[in-house]
Symmetry: C2
Subunit: 150 residues, 2 copies
């Protein structure tokens, strides 16, 4: 377990790499059944005839798996609390893909009104086993300052 | 089942309202266990001591539930295929919340290179039973033109 980082421990350009995780067709269909029940996420034959040309994971499944990899790889004190995120999915996630996440700190903005915290802009690229980017997200994460000795 | 809409059926300002769905603490913890295993999404006592001051759903859980409500309420021909989305979570989603989604077409841009399609910018507000916005998303959705008789 890496040390937990406070706002002042972070620097622009800091990078974090996750472990890898693999997803299969059954997981893609289970997620889609619950949250994104569309034929191209549920059924191989229907997916062949669709825009995706084959079974593809819901983008929200890719986003959720990315979050798990971020929780394991970006050790902010107090946890990963996002105010928001901009996401694009340049390529679909496919059955059998092995995903990992590379994150980089883009910006650090201390709060003016709350001196104990700030917002960290973090880009996370979710890559498959071929190095293709299946998701790019740019998130605003809350980071806390190290408490002062009183 | 509403009629399926093509690109030329859509207009700026068009609105779509979803049904409501309720989520409970068990669902919040099950999603978090799989995708966002942080104490404030998993354990009431730990959540009380956290930034959230009580159990809160992962933002990605709110996003995934929003997707299901969108699939049921925004009837685009060919399905809901997002190129990307900007998301903010102004308020946490809590156990027992009843969520619904109000969507509005903000922009329609026909593709220059692909005359059979375009991108539709759609804002979706996810509201709880008190009318609080728990998620605002602005997504770019693919929409297809009605096929011409040949």
């Amino acid at each position: 377990m890496p040390a937990r980082l406070y706002l002042e421990d972070l620097h622009i350009g800091d990078r974090f790499s996750s472990q890898a995780t693999t997803l299969d067709a059954a997981q893609i269909k289970a997620f889609a059944t619950q949250f994104d029940p569309q034929p191209f996420h549920l059924d191989e034959a229907a997916a062949e005839q669709s825009f995706f040309g084959g079974l593809a994971a819901s983008g929200w499944h890719t986003a959720a798996l990315t979050m798990r990899l971020l929780v394991e790889s970006v050790p902010l004190h107090g946890g990963l609390i996002g105010a928001g995120s901009e996401i694009t999915w340049p390529q679909p996630t496919r059955p059998g893909d092995q995903l990992r996440v590379e994150s980089e700190v883009l910006e650090i903005v201390p709060s003016r009104s709350r001196p104990d915290r700030g917002l960290v802009t973090c880009q996370s690229l979710t890559l498959n086993q071929n190095g293709d980017v299946v998701q790019r997200s740019v998130a605003k994460l809350l980071a806390f300052r190290r408490p002062q000795a009183s």
